[in-house]
Point group: C2
């Protein structure tokens, strides 16, 4: 591990040139696409996610590498701000020029459920390389062979662009992972995984003699509220949509809707029936590893045994390796007050969701007040409420404190790679205020530096008066290109 | 303390409107100016900093409040990004609209050495209020009376703008400070002070069940390098400038130059002589409190007793309350290798600096490699080096890893309030990558939220298609106003 980190550290100077980074990121996407067939084969053998899903995920991964190349090319991520001297300020302002520089070596902890998009060549790696930081990936033990193959592709792309192979390192094993976040030459870390593992690494990062930023995505319940008006208008459509979203990818998405507040009315009953119809038809699936299967089977059994919890479609194990999708219903007031079923407010990874039936809207607020931080929060509204009528206009304000992405009349599964994306949220959704998907994910791996009264001849080109790189900048408080 | 935090939390909704925040910040500046005479009197009685310095600092504080009002008015801090649907992306992009929302209640730990500018109405408070966050200040025990007065002025301004008094709370005492960072309703913290105190609070913030961002400014040595060429050209000027900078404000600035690398040549000797001339003339000063005076007296004695350390002007105590400015010299190689004088690489608060004499430039790099993270790093170059000749062009690259602000041919004391300012740096200078001075300090108290597929009628005005507030935004990857 130490040698891998040192090689990455030695390679940091090779990433200073933005043009080289752009070429490297695009070249990596090209090479991944060229190797697509064999990579998907290795991935499927290790994860059982299937060719269709994996080809889609690889396409997303290449798209993301190219999207970050565009971010680097465009240059506003550098946050260039230039202030000319101002004797009238209090105190007077000297010549000040600020931009952002790479943090240093970034440790990336790969996820199991996205062997391409949140793993060796995933968003953390792409954004860190885009920022100019070498990367050392801790491979996920569920796909070690694929991790080696993808790291090999990235290194080949690096060499083609004249970069040392060390810009992308790979380590395996629990102990290497623990040691990695404590290594003095590691300057930041990205993580996608469980609350338990992520919190342990977060604590280690914060406990170092020199603490480092730790951007972890740990867990999310992703609450959904269906208003009475929405249920009255579209009970079957919403129930079917929920069934599709919660069983997608065998429920192995961090944005799977895990708690759904549905009116305890006849319309709500129709929604639950439609949900049952879809979920009962979901094929038996295979989870990413045996440990996850055990957690799922034990987790659904624990929840199903609680007072007043019913299972219209019972989730659980099927055969030696499979799992059946299912869901539970519970009266909303079982989630609040003394003796509340707190475990129903914890994420259960896999194809299961909890439908909480509410009689008054006050119960919805009481439940939402107890939900931990989330990646997403969703509301389904009636047509009139969607126009802002009734209490429709209040929903964004009620859901915003809960999550980093708020959806209206949609489903949280499917996380677009886009400039406005925010994939993060209050703890435990993420351990920082940052995103791991979308253009602004690059901000995690940079720190600002200001240069004061520095002669033009010494300034980096990004900060010179003549702006030779044509960067977007703010000069004396105003945007200028 | 609990009641103060709850009052702040209850007040959070009152700060949603940006126009109200702008008025409140400007109104607070106006009221502080109106009360200037009595505030400076109270401040001088508690800090002994003197009327001239305190009036200047209050003017800076008011300037800063107004500067943040401008930041709020201009609106780019909201980071509005809008992506229209794009079916061609992989995966397809839905309608996504992102901006930043306030974190919640912010705890501010006031500093002793800036009773106005880094205290109750200082940069942390101003930037948090600008972001829309209510503030609870932990008063510094060195100026409790002033803290109450300033908090009273801020609350009067709040009430004038229709805000509840609770938007600015104040607590006193060590135990309240420890409890404050652990309070469940506190969402972030800002701190300026010592490494020991700051690290303890940082650890507490990270160790919470729900960790919160802790933006602490803890300590900085602020290294300065004088090249042989610079010493040859301007030995006396540089020595005198250094003497002025290190004794300014009785050496009680976080950006005081605490380590200066000077050639061990005849030109270097002339620099040291000029420095001695200025420092010997510095008036006896009074430090902010008795504990600081004890630390200073003990710290300089410990350093002066080290092998090969000399004191051309001896620093130390003078009378019952006073301190004498002074400085030490040491051969640079005493700062590296086995048995190095590590304590000389630690900040000593007060009017003292360490001049390390080097024979080869390699010694400079060896010393700089051992210096902890800094707020500032400075180099003094010859005229030719300032044009990039010789090795002059390399200095920015060598100093950038050390600090958040890099100066050429200047002195780090004096921190301008400006858009491009960065007052922060690698740990222990700060515990995060943020700044506590300048426009971007507002970023510390915000988190992004993305709204997906949300009807126009429900969107906040900041994100609507018609941009009713005229905000700077990025739409489909391009800047647009």
């Amino acid at each position: 591990m130490d040698g891998v980190v040192r090689a990455a550290w030695e390679a940091r100077g090779s990433l200073v040139d933005r043009g080289v980074r752009v070429g490297f990121l695009r070249g990596a996407a090209d090479l991944l696409e060229e190797s697509s067939a064999s990579l998907v084969e290795v991935a499927d053998a290790e994860t059982a996610l299937g060719g269709v899903r994996l080809r889609g995920e690889l396409a997303r991964t290449c798209y993301q590498l190219r999207a970050f190349a565009e971010v680097v090319e465009e240059g506003s991520f550098l946050g260039v701000i230039i202030d000319h001297p101002d004797a009238g300020a209090v105190p007077p302002v000297p010549d000040l020029r600020r931009f952002k520089v790479p943090l240093g070596v970034v440790a990336v902890y790969a996820a199991s459920n996205f062997p391409f998009a949140f793993s060796v060549a995933g968003g953390d790696t792409a954004s860190a390389l885009a920022a100019g930081c070498p990367v050392v990936v801790k491979a996920h033990p569920d796909h070690p062979g694929l991790s080696e193959r993808v790291a090999g592709v990235l290194r080949r792309a690096a060499v083609r662009w004249g970069l040392p192979e060390g810009v992308v390192g790979l380590v395996h094993g629990f102990e290497a992972g623990v040691a990695l976040v404590a290594h003095p030459l590691v300057a930041g870390a990205g993580f996608t995984g469980s609350v338990r593992g992520g919190r342990a690494l977060f604590d280690a990062a914060a406990g170092r003699p020199v603490p480092i930023p730790f951007h972890g995505e740990l867990g999310s319940l992703n609450p959904v509220v269906v208003t009475e008006g929405a249920a009255a208008e579209r009970a079957e459509e919403i129930g079917a949509g929920l069934g599709g979203s919660m069983t997608l990818g065998v429920g192995q998405f961090c944005v799977k809707p895990g708690l759904v507040l549905v009116p305890a009315s006849g319309e709500g009953d129709r929604l639950v029936e439609a949900l049952a119809g879809v979920v009962a038809q979901a094929p038996v699936g295979v989870l990413l590893d045996g440990r996850m299967r055990d957690s799922f089977v034990a987790g659904v059994a624990q929840r199903a045994a609680l007072v007043d919890v019913e299972c219209p479609v019972e989730p659980g194990g099927e055969g030696e390796r499979g799992v059946r999708a299912g869901f539970m219903t519970v009266p909303a007031d079982r989630l609040t007050g003394p003796g509340a079923h707190d475990v129903l407010l914890e994420e259960c990874f896999g194809p299961v969701t909890v439908v909480a039936r509410y009689r008054q809207e006050a119960q919805v607020d009481a439940v939402l007040a107890r939900v931990p931080g989330n990646l997403t929060a969703t509301v389904h509204l009636s047509t009139a409420e969607s126009r802002g009528e009734g209490r429709g206009g209040e929903w964004l304000g009620r859901l915003t404190p809960l999550a980093g992405r708020v959806l209206v009349n949609g489903w949280p599964t499917g996380v677009a790679v886009a400039p406005a994306q925010h994939h993060g949220g209050p703890y435990p959704a993420t351990t920082s205020t940052s995103t791991s998907v979308g253009a602004t994910a690059i901000e995690r791996w940079l720190r600002p530096v200001a240069y004061q009264s520095t002669p033009q001849a010494l300034l980096p080109p990004e900060l010179r008066d003549d702006n030779p790189l044509g960067l977007p900048r703010r000069v004396n408080g105003r945007p200028q290109r």
